[in-house]
Symmetry: C2
Subunit: 342 residues, 2 copies
DNA sequence: GAGTTCGATGCAATCGATTGCATGAGTTTC
DNA sequence: GAAACTCATGCAATCGATTGCATCGAACTC
């Protein structure tokens, strides 16, 4: 109650409880090494003083910040909000805080470096496959690998831990779904090419088309950027291509929505005139008009698993030498943006 | 190049440059106090060793973490993604990192306490008006106010700094817009009642209705929770109310979308049968079908201003005793979810 | 040329928590 | 009953960066 001028330190608590600072520290981190009577006395002193541990001092001494860094190219994308939520939940249940960084300047090496080598964060949750492996490996101290888990987007390096989804297969299933509905003229809106996930989805698309014996038309492939604008741009491109596809597989929901919007402005209605499959199943997908058929990605699961793995690695040291490679499965959610061809 | 076993310290750099650690420190923080020749020598040593500052040590010494904490009830809401983006941008341009916390257990006092009194964060960006003032004031050390800026949602305490929008006025304008289109049967989907912003919007709604001489029907007021589900629930309530409103003012876009969705399932089309105004103008609003008429909140601006104010307060100490109170104006964006009554 | 000033740099204390080692009291063992 | 052992606790060094004060040499003044 009677708060002192500034935050009480472990010394203050020690004084209150008539013990040494060492004992207070032990009560807090290894209670079983302290007798019950002193333990109680210390606990009382802690609440009397309103003591909270000074993380800076702790980090300095332990060389661990109990903080992880989540880096994503654009937190602005609604895809990440759910993931971030899950990351925070899992991290805080393990006693970790979460720092968030976006690509700021265009020198990822510099900012990652700043965060990680400065004991601000103990490990990195990387949601961005566009970083080159070399710069990442350079981050760990010599020999010691930096705790790093790549999530959502794979890093093309088997030594890097990853938690991803079955992008290739999922893309194939999405295309098959369209084919099952009778579509043969199928277009694809591609994500940003620097992402591995994008390439996997494109590969899945191409593979499925080949297996189905359907032609892939170049002008029905639009390179997008995972945002609504590029969906609308894709619509424009397809409209200008002479013949309109009857179905489109989009690399994510944002682009699907942008595409449907663009098409509608030209009088092409979804699903009446064109079927559209998205990817991700973001929060508004079921509420869109039409409700979006999409490949759901288990985003909470991705966030949780990635965080759990990262913290396991941080705490287990490098002893578990086998890299973690988790592949979660996406699920086709059929709603109303796809239907049988007339 | 020749990286040592562990991260180099300021001592290592000092040794390389044949100066004392004090000098290295000065080169880094007050270059003008060091002669040019040594400065160059030190810079060379820094890049040779690959030195990065140890933030824990720095924080301990300076009693400042150069980190702010953004606390929001549910980061999962797409509203926050844009704000967070802006916060990160502004913070990192000032050399600050951003920690993110969600409401975890239901003891906000405890977690805020943990973060703030433990030198993890120097200040708090609070996006949650539901915390009671007492617990907040308890946070600062005696006499010294904790650097705190309430954003988006006002704390009903003039001593707390805030960056908010003109919720009341904005709500009135939204209702006026509906009235201008000839609507008289207007419903309102309210946000979670613990939020001040919600109450302001409700007050604005009521005020506008009174000024327009329109009756407020109780069964046309639905208490929602700022998510899509409650929009759909509101639709159900209105449908069951005997008479259908011809227009609805929703407390945010999520609920607007949920409402439109729910109405459509009952065969009530927007804007044909019912006009809907949302609030926020989240990223998918212009791409919805129909594109959403909504009160745009300057979210980047909110994030940027709030962050800037917070850091100013942190760095300026408590010397600027006048609380900051910024009120940004919302803008009515007319799209296609509202139209003149038939 | 002796005294004064100034700029550059080093010394050493400090921030607060942790932990290996030492100590001392109490308990067990033969 | 003395040696061996256990258990609880304290002492003091340590983590790495910052900064007030001291020092030292050079430049300047009269």
């Amino acid at each position: 109650m009677t708060a002192s001028r500034k935050s009480p330190t472990i010394q203050d608590v020690a004084r209150h409880a008539n013990v040494s600072a060492a004992t207070v520290s032990r009560v807090l981190s290894a209670p079983e090494r302290v007798s019950e009577t002193t333990r109680e006395r210390v606990h009382a002193a802690v609440s009397e003083t309103g003591y909270t541990i000074n993380q800076a001092a702790r980090s300095l001494r332990l060389k661990a910040a109990r903080t992880i860094l989540m880096a994503a190219p654009n937190i602005g994308n609604p895809y990440y909000s759910t993931v971030l939520d899950a990351v925070i939940g899992e991290a805080s249940s393990r006693g970790y805080s979460v720092l968030v960084a976006t690509r700021i300047g265009d020198d990822p090496n510099r900012w990652l470096h700043d965060y990680l080598l400065s004991t601000r964060a103990d490990g990195l949750l990387l949601f961005d496959g566009s970083l080159d492996t070399n710069s990442l490996h350079g981050l760990g101290a010599e020999g010691v690998a930096l705790p790093l888990v790549a999530a959502y987007d794979e890093i093309p390096d088997p030594k890097v831990n990853s938690v991803i989804t079955d992008n290739r297969l999922a893309a194939k299933r999405a295309v098959r779904h369209l084919a099952d509905l009778g579509h043969t003229k199928i277009a694809h809106v591609i994500g940003p090419s620097r992402n591995q996930s994008t390439n996997e989805r494109l590969l899945g698309f191409q593979e499925a088309m080949r297996e189905l014996g359907l032609p892939v038309r170049q002008e029905w492939l639009h390179p997008g950027a995972y945002n609504t604008e590029s969906g609308t741009a894709a619509a424009a491109q397809f409209l200008a291509s002479g013949e309109l596809p009857t179905a489109v597989f989009c690399g994510n929901d944002e682009m699907a929505v942008g595409l449907i919007h663009g098409m509608r402005q030209a009088g092409i209605e979804c699903p009446r005139d064109i079927s559209v499959v998205g990817f991700d199943d973001v929060s508004f997908a079921p509420y869109y008009n039409p409700p979006l058929t999409t490949m759901r990605q288990p985003r909470e699961e991705i966030g949780r698993m990635a965080t759990r793995s990262l913290i396991d690695i941080i705490e287990g040291g490098a002893k578990e030498s086998d890299p973690v490679h988790v592949v979660l499965t996406s699920e086709l959610i059929v709603r109303e943006s796809t239907r049988t061809i007339r």
